[in-house]
Symmetry: C2
Subunit: 589 residues, 2 copies
Amino acid sequence: MINRISTFVPILDWGRHYNRQTLASDTMAAVIVTIMLVPQSLAYAMLAGLPAKYGLYASILPLVVYAVFGTSRTLAVGPVAVASLMTASAAGTIAAQGSPDYVLAAVLLAILSGAMLLAMGIFRLGFLANFLSHPVISGFISASGILIAASQIKHILGISVSGDSLVEILTPLAMHAADINPYTLALGAGVLAFLYFVRLRLKHVLTALGMPAHAGDMVVKAGPVLAVVATIALASAFDLGAKGVALVGEIPQGLPALGFPQVDPAMLQDLAIPALLISLIGFVESVSVAQTLASKRRQRIVPDQELVALGAANIASSVSSGFPVTGGFARSVVNFDAGAQTPAAGIFTAAGIAVTALFFTPYLAALPQATLAATIIVAVLSLVDVKVLRRIWTYSKIDFIAMAATILGTLFIGVETGVVLGVVLSLVLHLYRTSTPHIAIVGNVPGSEHFRNVERHDVLTVPEILTVRVDESLYFANSRFLEDRIAALVAARPEVRHLVLMCSAVNAIDASALESLEEINHRLKDAGIMLHLSEVKGPVMDRLRKTDLLEQLTGKVFLSQYDAFRALCTSTASGAPDLIRPTGSIVVG
Amino acid sequence: MINRISTFVPILDWGRHYNRQTLASDTMAAVIVTIMLVPQSLAYAMLAGLPAKYGLYASILPLVVYAVFGTSRTLAVGPVAVASLMTASAAGTIAAQGSPDYVLAAVLLAILSGAMLLAMGIFRLGFLANFLSHPVISGFISASGILIAASQIKHILGISVSGDSLVEILTPLAMHAADINPYTLALGAGVLAFLYFVRLRLKHVLTALGMPAHAGDMVVKAGPVLAVVATIALASAFDLGAKGVALVGEIPQGLPALGFPQVDPAMLQDLAIPALLISLIGFVESVSVAQTLASKRRQRIVPDQELVALGAANIASSVSSGFPVTGGFARSVVNFDAGAQTPAAGIFTAAGIAVTALFFTPYLAALPQATLAATIIVAVLSLVDVKVLRRIWTYSKIDFIAMAATILGTLFIGVETGVVLGVVLSLVLHLYRTSTPHIAIVGNVPGSEHFRNVERHDVLTVPEILTVRVDESLYFANSRFLEDRIAALVAARPEVRHLVLMCSAVNAIDASALESLEEINHRLKDAGIMLHLSEVKGPVMDRLRKTDLLEQLTGKVFLSQYDAFRALCTSTASGAPDLIRPTGSIVVG
């Protein structure tokens, strides 16, 4: 019984084996992740267009809830860059940034997204995430990275502007160039330079100085924290706030009040699509990180249970006034590397953030926004993957089109349009690809039982017998193509009396394809041609037996193509088959 | 050169060989089709909610244009039942029946639909029709038949009501039962009974009386014409119009003025989706009829050229004030059976309708609408296929769900919603089905080179070597499933050192699946397991060679699964493989 419940509440499983050693490891990891998460949560709240406190609120309860329901031992959830950008985009269509409705929209997004994830988990609808192909996700993440980085430039320059698409973001920057605040620019550029130095060079320097690689990694990861501490000190010492440098400002001390947000049905409707996209993208990214980390220790992730856990975490975020959360890549890797053994590390991290919210927020008031912007820029530019464009171009033009459309749509129209465009295009292009499967006319390889493409090999054929091999499962997207193609092949060969459909690569035949086969059989019968099948797979044959196709079939079903060829050769007038050499001129399929 | 042009203008091809004999056959067929088409065109105009003359207008120019561009020798185009219903549904959302805007909407639908078909033909986008699976089309046609029949009951009863969904149509009928016109009812019921007698019994009677089967068929097809002539006579003799029987009324003599309709951009936008659906459904039905007839004479249909021809025909319809047209089933069969040899029969039919429009419309004024309603009911109820529901239920539950949703959506929400619901569901369900492919763990059949499912056969396996066969092409919808499944399989078998992916049923690997394979390779490496591939198909291997997967692969690519097994057995510690008998308890995939 405990075993069955623990499938849905994994904490019951790992909690029973919890001991002092795992406690020590988890606590150590939690301290490191907490220090990393504080500036991140403030930064992503800023990116989402929300006051800084909401970042902290989204980093407490969701972590505890994920620890109870999640199947990953090391995934660290909380606000992440892409979901924050999407939150800003969706909430921006509802109300102006800074208004109470804007905040409400962000909180509603979390509860909607949570409810959707939970429902997908309970009803086993995780397969919906399969609509998001790798090229679409990858293109979307890269484009989001560029968009986020561009949106942060204003904080580095000290200009107040806003916009959604790349053009909307960059145009006003050029127009307001005169408003640049020199102190902000100096500070922001300094932090940027420092963070890039830390990321690209510091490890080499430290390793050269004799520090172990692992410790070096940790120092590099602590770069943003150092920048935060240093710029708070600078801003306080030189009173930069009075010189026009935007600071985070006062963050109220204390924990969020718990309670469901006030629900506005009209707003919910407007937020439904963005919430679905945030859910699916967050889920895909989160499971991908979790799988990568779990496989290093041969642990197992259960995607459907992850939906439940992430759903519950988002509802928890909403209940505590937070915005959408999901598993973060950098954060989870730090958690893993720092030695987290169980999700308890997440609970301890939540405790760390709670302590920060209760006692340390006054120290964060003097933090310049430019510092946060610089940490965001450095973090998100690492998401931008230019090489993948070239790789996918080389591998598959169809996938490239879907990716390019996603990137361009995201950058120049908007984040939701970008994703939807990519999903629709990849579906259409998938249908297009499988709607014209490779179809080969095959003949017998002399001295063997093999059958190969007549255009590539010297094979034996008989004019009366046409054997066609279809390299695709037969379903609605290609069933009519098959009808058309067979009609064309037969119309061009008046001598044909037998058509054999070789089904070795046909993994399934759906109802549309079944109707097409019946139609093909019927039409061939009218034309005086018998239709035979060969090498039909077991599961496919099981289904066909439920229909009357096999009774209506003018020909037979042969176990192997060789059986078919031998039997039909003896029954035709021309007798012994002729050797056909490939001409290389006719292309089929 | 003529050959290349004639691909796009097939009349240049068959026109050159035209002779006196084909002229005689075509003329005979045209006379018969004209007699059949006159009442049909009036009936479908009524169904579309338009004055009768528009039915004639849609049956002249489109036929000529199709004859020039179409690849079918015998397809008879013109107004058809389902497209007329869809026209009524779409135009009804724009304006009230009887208003000038309603007529304009119908004419715009034709030009929009024509432009879409033409564009699909030119840009080779005919594959878009593949989105419409057989179960969705079949369900939609059946539901439309029921809806159309229900919508005509009011004409039989002599009541004036209107509505779109089944509930909207039937409820007011019951409420207005007191308004039934007894003359209309007697006439309508009489025609219905007569037409059913003709359809179901007359051929038996005629054959029993010694008439040849072919002639009997022709008499049966002439049933509606007899009913038209007889009820015109009745209505004139007894002045039924004065007794409240609705008549077709005066149809202006003459041909339509030619000219493009006045274009209203807002209206075009509202009509875009209906026009697309009318185009696709009309195209699918039309090509299906054309293929069936062509195969009887081993002729060839070129679907992309059919798009061009139907597109041009619809534009021609619009230019001559007509509404959407397509190839009609019954009409084409009559044309074929009557001996039509070339599309010239269509041109002669158009001439026949033009003559009717010029000279014979006064004779049609006394035609009771109830007669037309009865011919519509009898025609469309033959479209309703109840048996297919049972067949598809038995064959595939997934296809059944798509079909049932289409039928219920069409009947109870509306025609467009029904089709869209069906299309979306069949796509989602297709993704769902291929997203969880059959995955089998296989072992060597003793004494052979075959590999079979360990759960169905007595096979040899080695604990260190896990061989997995995936029965599906790998693409975005199942790539993450594969990742999850392999992670789970490996997590449950700590002894595994080699994983072989047997790719005999993998017809394609898209960019998403490639990334997943790289990820699987990477994760297995972290877990100390080598990944091997076996039986990769030629075209798939060609693509993989363009990537660095093969370099990064921790294991090898084996030509056959047997090669892989033999090579890996000698390299592992346990040596000789053990015989595994299927337990029947574990189900994989």
